[in-house]
């Protein structure tokens, strides 16, 4: 079942970057791609539970700030050692200047 929540304003995230969003005891990462599309994933790396929000976004890849685990943030697919477990993704959309993500699953 869908459960859309407001994560942030569009302008809160720079192009080709991400921010952390905490909601109901969980932490998420909100991405803005080089083409200004928005995406959302779990906020913690699957390798050692580090917040991805300090990491670097290059094109469609988020790299964990701690050990350089890489994921495609559109699909959550791991892109090389040390990560091998997929990152959970969530649908994201923009409405009236706000970024909403669907955490219903």
């Amino acid at each position: 079942m869908s459960e859309w929540v407001e994560a942030c304003a569009v302008d809160d995230v720079e192009t080709e970057d991400l921010i952390r969003f905490d909601h109901a005891g969980k932490t998420y990462a909100i991405y803005r791609s080089p083409e200004d599309e928005f995406f959302a994933t779990d906020g913690l790396c699957t390798h050692e539970q580090v917040h991805l929000s300090g990491g670097l976004v290059m094109d469609y890849i988020i790299e964990c700030p701690k050990h350089n685990g890489r994921f495609d943030y559109r699909t959550g697919d791991p892109k090389g050692a040390p990560v091998c477990v997929k990152l959970q993704t969530y649908p994201a959309k923009v409405e009236a200047g706000k970024v909403l993500i669907d955490i219903g699953g």
């Binding site: 080709e16 050692e48 580090v50 917040h51 300090g54 990491g55 670097l56 290059m58 790299e63 700030p65 701690k66 050990h67 350089n68 050692a81 040390p82 091998c84």
Partner: protein
């Protein structure tokens, strides 16, 4: 191609084994480690306690990749003429190509042989397992391992003293300004330092300093550097020079034998270097695997290190020159990065310190700039409102 054999099941060897499969190699792969455990990550050993091992890969992953993981056996000799390795426990094994990834071990100075060291999971269990509030721990060596251990021991409530021969901490790895931030934090956490002081002798429970002064302790641990495990390669007649000498493809002086990770001395820029680094071990392993299968491209990755002490994280890209001038970029909340330029103006190194991952993004960008040979404008490096991505992409 016949069987590929990897000696050493640490970070480098394990990554190489999986990389052989990822590159499409279909023949036998044997990975041999002398520890009894499933291969695990070493960095957490000094940073966390209790030390539930973090495995590099699950046991089923080796089976799925058809990697024959041999644990708890030590390779004692390489017969290059017959292309076979011998096990200390008896028996031997043929190889078509061999990768030596034997890593490094903690070094000790004469007189310090009785100090404990921290290198393996069992070291960590013995060393950290006995720490408790009020126990007195003396650490010889104010480098990454000694300081990480000091932070962990303080968290466990132990009384910690660090003795360092150099006048300041982490002198080999980071510029003074960064070391000072870490030192101040350790002092605030209650760690005592004796700097600029040599150690003469060590027993299990005491240390005698160069001036004859004796410090009693419940435990003495040394973190004073590492030595490459080159004995196997040396006995087989391979070229050794501060590590097993390899070219940019990790080839030794024998075309069928490769060496990678902490145990090798490889070309970096115009010089040669040997690293003790988790990231380099991974990258070497992956690169060597491709070279074993015929890859000809030279390794180009920039060295990258990190250390965690309390909630502070240090990250370093490139090889800093402790004596060279730096350009400082302040990121707020006390976090900052020091950049150093080579004489030709290209970026040489970047070292940063801050709470949690405050410096990570910029250090990663700096690493890419070093790799690409970019000549950044110093004023832009110093200005935190300038996104380093713009310098990377020109």
């Amino acid at each position: 191609m016949g069987g590929l054999v990897i000696v050493g099941a640490g970070e480098c060897g394990v990554r190489a084994a999986f990389a052989l499969r990822e590159a499409g190699f279909d023949g036998p792969v044997t990975l041999i480690g002398d520890e009894p455990h499933l291969p695990y990550e070493r960095p957490p050993l000094s940073k966390t306690f209790p030390t539930a091992p973090k495995h590099i890969a699950g046991e089923d992953a080796y089976a799925a990749a058809r990697i024959d993981l041999v644990r708890g056996r030590r390779v004692s000799a390489i017969d290059r003429a017959k292309k076979r390795i011998a096990f200390a426990e008896g028996g031997d094994l043929a190889y078509e190509r061999l990768l030596i990834a034997t890593g490094s071990r903690a070094s000790l100075f004469p007189g310090m042989e009785k100090a404990r060291t921290l290198r393996t999971l069992s070291d960590a269990e013995t060393t950290l397992g006995s720490l408790a509030p009020g126990k007195k721990l003396v650490i010889v060596g104010g480098g990454f391992i000694g300081l990480e251990l000091a932070a962990t021991a303080r968290k466990l409530g132990a009384d910690v003293t660090v003795i360092e021969a150099a006048p300041r901490l982490m002198a080999r790895v980071v510029p003074t300004e960064i070391a000072s931030v870490a030192e101040a934090r350790h002092r605030a956490e209650g760690v005592a330092f004796i700097l600029g002081t040599q150690v003469r002798t060590v027993t299990e429970t005491s240390i005698m300093l160069a001036d004859g002064h004796v410090i009693e302790a419940d435990q003495v641990i040394a973190g004073v550097g590492a030595l490459p495990n080159t004995e196997l390669a040396a006995a087989a007649g391979l070229a050794i020079e501060n590590g097993i000498l390899v070219d940019g493809c990790f080839r030794t002086s024998d075309p069928d034998i490769f060496a990678a990770g902490d145990c090798c001395n490889f070309p970096y820029r115009e010089a040669r270097t040997r690293l003790e680094s988790w990231r380099a071990a991974q990258d070497h392993g992956k690169h060597a695997a491709r070279a074993i299968l015929g890859g000809e491209d030279a390794y180009q990755r920039v060295p990258w290190f990190w250390s965690d002490q309390y909630d502070l994280t240090l990250q370093v890209a490139g090889l800093p020159d402790p004596a060279a001038a730096s350009i400082r970029r302040d990121l707020g909340d006390g976090a900052f990065i020091l950049f150093q330029l080579a004489p030709d103006g290209s970026l040489l190194s970047a070292s940063g310190i801050g709470v949690e991952n405050a410096v990570a993004k910029d250090i990663r960008l700096a690493e890419m700039m070093i790799e690409k040979g970019i000549n950044p404008e110093p004023a832009k490096l110093a200005d935190p409102t300038v996104n380093l991505k713009s310098l990377l992409r020109g």
